[in-house]
Symmetry: C2
Subunit: 209 residues, 2 copies
């Protein structure tokens, strides 16, 4: 369980928290509390004071890491997404894309997630309070999902140099557009169609699992 010191401080590396360390336990407690508050009271009622109380930590502990309710909400959705939904690794690009989109469809059907997405969509990009939280949330999501594309390139299913963000965006954008704008169903037809079209759009090689 010990991790070489240089892994946490090597230049350019993400600073990692030891699993099980106090800082990681605090992070999990705060994120669980934020998810719970969002589910119970909604985004507009989300306050750092209430989240700190429920997590059993000092308010300053929360403020230091999540300076605004937008940061808390973004962190909470990322936490929810990562906890229940490890990035799929089924052995084929088709399997991975299908599992990823299924996870997202299930996730956005959770009332607290739907609420946060709608609240985020309502704010324009120039809203400074939300811009950082939003970018960091989507950066994390796209980077995680992008591993699917990298592995497909390694297996020879996608051409070298395929842009991971473009693949993930094409896969998921119709689902978000249906949720936020057109109100069309997020059903199996969408799931099948989005996976099939994404594979074709990026010339994915046929490969059996």
């Amino acid at each position: 369980m010990t991790r070489p010191k240089n892994e946490t401080v090597s230049p350019g590396a993400t600073v990692r928290t030891r699993p099980g360390g106090r800082s990681e336990r605090v992070r999990i407690a705060v994120m669980d509390a934020a998810v719970n508050q969002l589910a119970t009271h909604g985004y507009n009622a989300l306050s750092i004071a209430n989240v700190a109380r429920e997590a059993g930590v000092a308010e300053t502990t929360v403020y230091r890491r999540w300076p605004t309710p937008a940061d808390l909400a973004g962190g909470a959705v990322a936490h929810l997404a990562q906890t229940d939904n490890p990035v799929p690794d089924t052995g084929t690009l088709e399997g991975d894309l299908r599992t990823l989109l299924s996870q997202i469809i299930k996730l956005v059907h959770r009332p607290e997630v739907e609420r946060i997405l709608r609240a985020a969509a309502a704010l324009d990009g120039g809203n400074a309070m939300s811009a950082h939280a939003r970018e960091s949330f989507w950066r994390t999501r796209f980077t995680g999902a992008g591993r699917i594309v990298e592995r497909a390139v390694e297996r020879g299913e996608l051409a070298a140099g395929t842009d991971p963000d473009a693949v993930i965006e094409l896969l998921v954008a119709p689902a978000y557009m249906r949720l936020l704008l057109t109100n069309r169903p997020l059903d199996d037809e969408l799931l099948d169609g989005s996976v099939r079209r994404t594979l074709k759009a990026f010339d994915a090689a046929q490969k059996s699992a």
Copy 2:
């Protein structure tokens, strides 16, 4: 300018308003006023009373056709989209898709349009007041744009039976996702990539203009 009577009453046909007729003049005046009110005061301040005053018509005239501010806003965006942006007919599927997406990118950069989209995204699908206006707005947009797909099928660029909604959705969804969620740029890379991927995803036949 006269239109045979049976064209307006034939079974199944959409009831049409004679261009230049009084009802059409009222519609245009109300829609222009709604666009203007949205641009000046934003979606949340949109009221039937103010729109009626600016259009120079009775409030009941507005209520009868646009019972809620959501109906007015949906109508106004559709009006704006149709007035400035006839459905493209360039002779090739690629040209039509490129022109359509360019129009949409320009349109969503208008502050009043961006505001309405964000306000619409903030409301959940169960919001009865907005559901009708929303569905009718998107139905109109997709049906208009769907002509692009129908003409491509007629020219042999797309297979018979290609679902027009699916083509248009794949083309435009990444742009809306960037605008509403990820805040990534709506730039030429998006335009080129979305057109190219949509053509590939639906096996469009190469065709020179």
